[in-house]
């Protein structure tokens, strides 16, 4: 973690957008998941629909999108 070029930092950067974190928190409440699981659901949905995690997060926050429980 002390290496600024490590992928952990790049990952943190991409996912530390406030919208992504807030939407993750909403998924935790909606689907009764751990934050880690909720974030991977969000990312999986983004990947499957070819959109960015930030776009998906905005839809969740605006309540235009609801992910289903497994």
């Amino acid at each position: 973690m002390n290496d600024p070029s490590s992928s952990a930092w790049a990952e943190l950067n991409a996912l530390s957008r406030a919208e992504v974190s807030q939407a993750t928190g909403m998924l935790v409440a909606q689907l009764n998941l751990d934050p880690v699981e909720a974030l991977s659901r969000l990312r999986a949905h983004a990947y499957a629909t070819g959109r960015s995690a930030t776009d998906v997060a905005r839809d969740i926050l605006e309540r235009r999108l609801r992910l289903d429980a497994d």
Binding site: M1, N2, P4, L12, L15, S16, A18, S21, Q22, A23, T24, G25, M26, L27, V28, A29, Q30, P35, L61
Partner: protein
């Protein structure tokens, strides 16, 4: 000292340069000696010194503007009685505009200070973690009140001295990264908790943040700790959500 720069600018420039040094490699005695010189200059007093308590609550001189024997002796005498030790024991500033009126209060210290040519002696506390660590002593040759603005400047410099003393190791490139990452990670948890609460309570994300901050203030629990508990502690969640739902109800 002749100085045309407005005092506000001199005070701010001293604070900026001192805090700047705290963010790099610094030596505590060297920095505190500089601080005493800044004090003497900014507060227009003749001499200043930091006294720090040991675990047995005895005060020791850590740094002073002058190495002159009479002043060092005065500071050492302060360990027994006088404004600094009183300030240390009470945690309150002790401001003495005219030492001539205080002979009975400090039968040893007052005559010695007057003999050494100091008519006014003030002390402001160094505090941290709810405890008093020591005091900053200010000595002046003329009888003079310490104005409120001067007391605040002195207190600011005393706070900086506390941070310098308590910062065990000056930051290095290796040591800044973990706390930086922790700060960023805490922020992620705070954002998650905002989204979580917004969904649970049917409030906006901004309102959820306000609720979390009110809750953390009234409970005396750090905001990031509240967010972490909300996001990682399933057992704590229901009670936390209920407490914040109560805040929503009380606020409406």
């Amino acid at each position: 000292m002749v100085n045309d720069t407005p005092r506000e600018t001199r005070v701010l420039s001293a604070v900026v340069s001192l805090v700047d040094r705290l963010l790099d490699d610094f030596d505590v005695v060297d920095l505190l000696t500089d601080l005493t010189e800044r004090c003497a200059d900014l507060l227009d007093v003749a001499s200043a010194g930091f006294l720090l308590a040991d675990p047995l609550q005895r005060l020791h001189l850590l740094a002073a503007t002058s190495e002159q024997t009479r002043e060092v002796e005065l500071f050492q005498l302060q360990a027994e009685e006088g404004p600094c030790v009183e300030c240390y024991r009470t945690g309150q500033p002790v401001l003495v505009a005219d030492m001539r009126t205080e002979i009975e209060r400090w039968p040893q210290f007052a005559p010695t200070a007057l003999e050494a040519g100091f008519a006014a002696v003030h002390a402001v506390p160094m505090r941290a973690a709810g405890a008093v660590l020591g005091a900053l002593g200010l000595f002046d040759t003329r009888p003079k009140e310490l104005a409120e603005a001067d007391r605040l400047v002195g207190q600011t410099l005393a706070h900086i001295a506390c941070v310098a003393v308590l910062q065990e190791h000056p930051p290095t490139p290796d040591t800044v990264l973990p706390p930086l990452r922790a700060a960023l990670a805490s922020r992620v948890q705070v954002e998650q908790a905002k989204g979580f609460l917004s969904e649970m309570l049917g409030v906006s994300v901004a309102e959820a943040f306000g609720l979390m901050r009110s809750y953390s203030r009234t409970q005396g629990e750090h905001l990031t700790a509240v967010a972490r508990r909300l996001m990682t502690d399933r057992h704590a969640r229901p009670q936390l959500v209920r407490a914040m739902a109560d805040l929503v109800r009380d606020g409406r």
